[in-house]
Assembly symmetry: C2
DNA sequence: TCGTAGAACGTACAGTGTACGTACCGCCCA
DNA sequence: TGGGCGGTACGTACACTGTACGTTCTACGA
């Protein structure tokens, strides 16, 4: 029996590999949102069938873990010549930037098990904290405070759904359904956002925390 | 034609209503996790069929919004006789407690649209901030900082999967797969957690933020 | 007694993750 | 020059999800 092969798709497809799948997953999530990241969609975007992905990736959870770790790998390594707390600040800013580039990553940051890149990042942050001259206990708390601040702010920013769309439109729409008599302070607060004469909370509060830590340490001695 | 009715289930079931559905959803999510909260499971737990729920609730997203708002309603109202920032602190602690009681709520806190209870809570928090004597701008940032701190800490705590299970076991398991040479500071940090001679970061950092705000305000004048 | 509104129900559909069995292709060893 | 043999791709199938739609039942007011 003769089997005739028909070239149904002339587009040459890149060979499958964990790295290729993770990369495709990241771009798909970046462009269409994490909800569009189904194994079927991902396979289609790569030009393969669904189950072929499972030859390179254990399951979807594994894929998500790898994707999150790839984002973590984008975080700048600390400058070894900088004073520890300055380096901490830089890491926080860089982490915030990486999470802003990949909005889907922040909610997964906590759920997924930390991969090597995130381990590296956490270990570096801890090392800097412990080397900063703060007391052991304050360094411990400072680690959590900084981590929490960075992740919290990105989540807050994204949770509002302020990624792609115009922030102003969103805010105006929200405020339209708001009774200024029952929620006067919310209305006022949103106005402050719209008028834009309040800078970013992110760096201000970050410095608040870091400065507060050293002050607390000084007072304790 | 005669139709014989058979009492297949003698258990009398409570009449369906939005409140009853929300309450059942909350207990189901509390006990079995939010992943177990499917419309089918929820209907079964109430003794009804799936589609009957849709007579009282628009869709699952609507249900989740109502559930989150029910948790928000558990937050203590601010004591009107307390100084503003003391009341802010109390609200933060109470919010943290409510979120700890319902671990599933924290991730939904941001995704779901705010209902009346959360609106009330946000407006109260803003009112206290603006009444605290801080500059308008610092009050604005302080609102975000406190909100962020509370939510971030609960998410951090839950993300680790430290709800139901024993924290120590989890930590020891995690550390077992950790190379002390490549991640020395992580190992040390987890040890500090296990030894337990570091208090809760939550209130310490909360005070750090609140004290930092008033100090910043004093310096600016 | 009848009409009607609202609640409950059953079926059906598209979409999800993935277990399982099969087919193919290239490489190493006889 | 075979001949397996391991890895990759594929197709089918299953259980489960949210929910649209049409039908049945039940209670109450006229």
């Amino acid at each position: 029996m003769y089997v005739v092969k028909v070239a149904t798709d002339t587009a040459p497809r890149a060979p499958l590999s964990p790295a290729a799948i993770v990369a495709a997953g990241i771009t798909l999530a970046d462009e269409q949102g994490v909800d569009a990241l189904s194994m079927r969609n991902l396979a289609r975007s790569l030009g393969y069938e669904v189950m072929s992905l499972y030859n390179h990736v254990r399951n979807k959870d594994d894929l998500l873990t790898l994707m999150v770790d790839a984002v973590a790998a984008e975080i700048d390594l600390p400058d070894p010549s900088a004073p520890p707390l300055v380096a901490v600040r830089a890491m926080a800013v860089s982490t915030n930037a990486a999470l802003a580039r990949h909005p889907w990553a922040a909610p997964l940051w906590l759920r997924q098990a930390p991969g090597p890149a995130r381990m590296r990042q956490m270990d570096d942050l801890l090392r800097l904290m412990y080397a900063s001259g703060l007391s052991r206990e304050l360094a411990h708390h400072g680690f959590h405070a900084v981590n929490n601040h960075v992740l919290g702010y990105t989540l807050q920013r994204l949770g509002m759904g302020l990624e792609g769309t115009d922030l102003e439109d969103k805010a105006r729409d929200f405020m339209a359904g708001l009774d200024a008599d029952t929620y006067p302070f919310m209305v006022a607060h949103i106005h402050e956002h719209l008028d834009g004469h309040t800078g970013s909370s992110f760096e201000l509060v970050l410095d608040l925390i870091l400065d507060g830590l050293v002050r607390l340490d000084r007072e304790a001695r």
